[in-house]
């Protein structure tokens, strides 16, 4: 019988299909990174991805982690969330949603918030088309 991923995510084959569907050839490193990301909706930094991928026996280099995350972001498999100049997260939840960033704890949370939709954007500068719409609400603990 087929072995499923140990982290309740997609099976390796499903991950490979998802990469191929976007025209990304499924190398060992890319599949590993994708399996990690797609296991569940989550926010990971490049560092965290590097650390977790390299916990397993076969590893990936720092350069590959960056290449791959950028590739995935460009292809829309993952969403880059820029929270802090030195805190970029990769969000494996690709459905439309926005973010709450807790400045005290560093925790990033998704929020459903339909009152902004791509369809009804304000007038943009002429000759430009929207690529992403990112709403980030920064909060503090209200002690």
């Amino acid at each position: 019988m087929k072995k499923m991923s140990d982290k309740q995510g997609l099976s390796p084959d499903a991950v490979i299909d998802r990469l191929k569907a976007k025209g990304i050839s499924a190398t060992r490193q890319r599949v590993q990174i994708a399996e990690l990301l797609f296991a569940k909706p989550q926010h990971l930094s490049a560092d965290q991805v590097l650390e977790r991928v390299n916990r397993e026996d076969s590893t990936a280099s720092k350069a590959t982690i960056y290449n791959t995350l950028n590739l995935f972001a460009r292809k829309g498999l993952v969403r880059e969330v820029i929270v802090d100049p030195s805190k970029v997260f990769y969000d494996s939840n690709t459905s439309e949603h926005h973010h709450v960033y807790n400045l005290d704890s560093g925790v990033l949370t998704d929020i459903e918030f339909t009152s902004i939709n791509m369809a009804e954007l304000p007038p943009l500068p002429t000759g430009t088309t929207p690529v992403t719409v990112d709403l980030i609400i920064r909060v503090r603990e209200s002690s």
Copy 2:
């Protein structure tokens, strides 16, 4: 008669008052940076501020530029706009508004967009209060 700033902005005294109103002591360097920023609504990076301030005869060090911009941002004199991990802008327009960032040209533009207001935010995680609400629409030239 009183000499006005050469860049159609606030007079030096008005700048000093604005700093003092926020409890910031008006040192030479801070006044210089504030005069530059408050001359008109604009988006400048730390680098640009450094470069422009040091164009004049009396200068400020890199460390001071960073200290001062962070101080101004904390005090609400200026708004930090994080557009790209390595592109932080300081926006001297402190009224409520949002941003359009052109990925091709690197130009950041303000937009008035009242359909999101601090008053009607979605439910935030319990025990947190909003600090900033930032909407950034990233666009490309629609060649």
